[in-house]
């Protein structure tokens, strides 16, 4: 689960990391109020940032500067309600505009191959770290935290040195690097990233200037498997931004990803679901979704999966592919019959059920007049053919 930037900032600040002030606002008026407070506290301007979980908000015009509360209200009005990569912006973060002297990258991520937390840092922050990683791998320092003891002081010092920091920033960077790993461990995150980590010039109320190392932007992704032990974090899930279908899928413990094609897929197992999609595509069709009902799925889950698939008006055919292991084929078959009897829209279905109780499943499906297939390849081809037939009838291309 991705956290919104303002939530990520909260977690960093709670761990004692230097995060500039700022608050989230859901209306232009509220944004103006926050801006007024920040300007009164000495900010030389504010930045209004769209809070969305997709990248590229800067290019899309979702980040704007403002010099006065009125201006903040205006730019917030522009940003709130705009659509970025299909997501409607409903919240903005209003924070002091920073006088940035230098930008760094600092991040902690789960390194699967090494089975360690990997801390990465670079003196070249503010740009895409993936690009730096590709083009100048040596420009990135990589340190693996100890699996039990976390990021040790000497490791954090290595990172701080590699960033090219000096003087008081060294100790600050050590504290921040250790803090990132602590935030990761305490919240079961798989990614905690500060980009940019920046040296900013600030003016105090008395007019004196001071340079500080601060976390200007933060990105945190949580381990979904650990959310049950972090109810406070689960509560930060942004339902505004989540597709209602995704919400239902999550509640039913169905893995569901909406795609653009016309052939709905209902499969048990992620690998088999991807394979089913691959075969649909190979047969000339386009999958409408990835959907994995998980192991031992009950009739109720099957019905919910059907609802999810049919909620997409583009779906013309449903391909069901079940290899029974824990999952009992007859139970899935009954779930399909039950689901079809209740659904509002009737679409052709091609059903393949093998494995545990497949014979009984076949009997149920035949009695209910489902179209069945013996092999996965055949099922995919039949589904694509059915979609084509409907497409021809509807005047489309069937994809």
């Amino acid at each position: 689960m991705k956290l919104q930037e303002f939530h990520a900032r909260e977690l960093l600040a709670a761990a004692g990391l230097p995060v500039p002030p700022g608050r989230v606002a859901t209306s232009p008026a509220e944004a103006g109020t926050v801006a007024r407070e920040l300007l009164a506290a000495g900010a030389r301007g504010v930045v209004v940032k769209a809070q969305v979980l997709v990248g590229g908000r800067g290019k899309a015009g979702g980040v704007k500067l403002a010099g006065t509360p009125e201006e903040a209200e205006q730019v917030a009005a522009q940003i709130l309600g705009m659509t970025i990569k299909g997501i409607v912006v409903r919240k903005v973060l209003v924070a002091p505009a920073s006088d940035i002297r230098h930008e760094y990258y600092l991040g902690a991520v789960l390194d699967r191959a090494a089975q360690r937390i990997l801390v990465m840092g670079s003196a070249e922050g503010g740009v895409e770290i993936e690009q730096v990683a590709r083009e100048k791998p040596d420009a990135i320092v990589r340190v693996h935290a100890h699996p039990h003891l976390g990021l040790l002081d000497y490791q954090a010092r290595q990172v701080a040195l590699a960033l090219g920091l000096t003087g008081p920033y060294l100790a600050d960077a050590v504290a921040i690097a250790k803090g990132l790993v602590r935030v990761m461990v305490e919240n079961d995150a798989d990614l905690v990233e500060v980009n940019p980590l920046a040296v900013v010039h600030e003016r105090a109320a008395d007019g004196t200037g001071i340079d500080r190392l601060v976390c200007l932007d933060a990105k945190i992704t949580l381990d979904d498997s650990a959310l049950t032990r972090h109810p406070d974090l689960e509560a930060r899930r942004d339902l505004d931004e989540e597709d209602p279908a995704d919400t239902e899928a999550r509640e039913q413990e169905i893995n569901f990803i909406h795609l653009d094609g016309s052939i709905g897929c209902l499969v048990n197992g992620a690998g088999l679901a991807m394979t089913t999609m691959d075969l649909v595509k190979r047969a000339g069709g386009e999958p409408a979704n990835f959907l994995d009902i998980g192991g031992g799925a009950k009739a109720e889950t099957v019905a919910a999966a059907m609802r999810l698939i049919l909620a997409d008006p583009k779906v013309r055919v449903i391909l069901v592919n079940i290899f029974g292991g824990i999952t009992r084929g007859d139970e899935v078959a009954r779930g399909l019959v039950e689901a079809r009897s209740r659904q509002e829209r009737d679409v052709p279905m091609v059903v393949r059920i093998v494995g545990t109780n497949a014979d009984e499943a076949g009997r149920i499906l035949r009695e209910a007049s489902f179209q069945t297939a013996a092999s996965l390849e055949a099922a995919a081809e039949q589904a694509v053919a059915a979609a084509r037939a409907l497409g021809a009838a509807a005047g489309g291309d069937g994809r």
């Binding site: 789960l110 699967r112 191959a113 089975q115 360690r116 937390i117 993936e130 990683a133 590709r134 699996p147 039990h148 990761m184 461990v185 079961d188 798989d190 381990d223 979904d224 498997s225 650990a226 049950t228 032990r229 893995n255 990803i257 795609l259 499969v267 048990n268 197992g269 992620a270 690998g271 088999l272 679901a273 991807m274 394979t275 999609m277 691959d278 075969l279 649909v280 595509k281 190979r282 999958p287 990835f290 994995d292 192991g295 290899f323 029974g324 292991g325 824990i326 999952t327 093998v354 494995g355 545990t356 092999s375 996965l376 390849e377």
Partner: protein, 300 residues
């Protein structure tokens, strides 16, 4: 012979009194696996599976009194890391963890302890290991197998069954089928299993089933290029058509940058001499093309 599990397996089922644990313990016992005990803290002294299997409070007792050398874990995710560590401490050498949804950082803490003890963990979130005709440890349906020369390793669950069934239907039996699990942190990798197959005289061919995400398949390919030169080998990668950046159920299935894509994996495997199938159904033929001889298709 076979790898990991076989006729010498003396299994303890951790969590034998749970719904899943009991169900699969019955299946394993019916397959012929020797179950010497189950564990459930507080129920020591009872018996499970219609009185055929003693229930112990601890894995240590199952080792001491039942001679267990292998464990399979069906306890819920919050207890699973401790169950692994208990098995390690009791001296179990092969631990198969079926439990899914164990937080990755829990596994991060567990793995160094497993390694230090020299134990082997399969999984978590895996379907287990079956050596057809000898022993089944996990949840892979027993009916899909037949004995034979093909060693199979896979990150997936039902996709594994699909491939195994297709091999069996084509007359290609299996020495051992290993489902290593699709979680970010797992105890045993594709490469580890290939190494075991390479040392097994009964395994004459290998099948590697992978998915997009991570670099485990590429690492296995690099090893195989050097060490499996004369072994017939085929592979299948799921997710060729998965859109970039989408998360496909397994935490492992995140495409990041250029690495981990189906294209990269297929290329690495082909460069290492694997014949890579486009559908699960093609795998058997790719092995037969490399000289693996199918057995007569069995009756029924």
């Amino acid at each position: 012979m076979s790898i990991l599990v076989g006729r010498d397996t003396r299994l303890v089922v951790q969590g034998i009194t749970g719904r899943e644990g009991e169900f699969h313990a019955r299946q394993m016992q019916a397959y012929g696996t020797r179950i010497v005990g189950g564990t459930r803290f507080g129920k020591g002294g009872q018996r499970a599976l219609d009185g055929t299997v003693p229930v112990f409070d601890t894995v240590h007792e199952a080792v001491r009194e039942g001679g267990a050398n292998t464990s399979v874990i069906y306890v819920p995710a919050p207890s699973a890391p401790d169950a692994i560590l208990e098995a390690v401490d009791a001296g179990i050498q092969l631990i198969v963890c079926i439990t899914e949804r164990i937080p990755a950082l829990d596994m991060l803490r567990v793995m160094p302890v497993v390694r230090e003890a020299g134990a082997r963990l399969i999984g978590p979130n895996c379907p287990g290991v079956t050596s057809p005709g000898r022993a089944k440890v996990g949840i892979i349906p027993g009916s899909i197998h037949r004995e034979g020369p093909v060693g199979l390793v896979s990150r997936s669950g039902t996709l594994t069954y699909e491939v195994v069934q297709a091999l069996t239907d084509a007359g290609l039996g299996q020495s051992t089928c290993v489902g290593i699990g699709g979680d970010p942190i797992i105890g045993t990798t594709h490469r580890d299993v290939l190494e075991l197959f390479a040392a097994d005289p009964e395994t004459e061919a290998v099948v590697l089933i992978g998915e997009i995400g991570g670099s485990a398949e590429e690492e296995a390919a690099a090893w195989a290029a050097e060490h499996l030169r004369d072994v017939p080998r085929a592979a299948f990668i799921a997710g060729r058509t998965a859109p970039e950046g989408k998360r496909m159920g397994h935490a492992g299935a995140i495409i990041s940058g250029g690495s981990g894509t189906a294209t990269a994996k297929v290329a690495a495997l082909e460069a290492a001499g694997f014949r890579v199938a486009e559908t699960p159904g093609q795998i058997a033929q790719l092995l037969i093309d490399q000289g693996v001889r199918p057995q007569a298709v069995r009756a029924g």
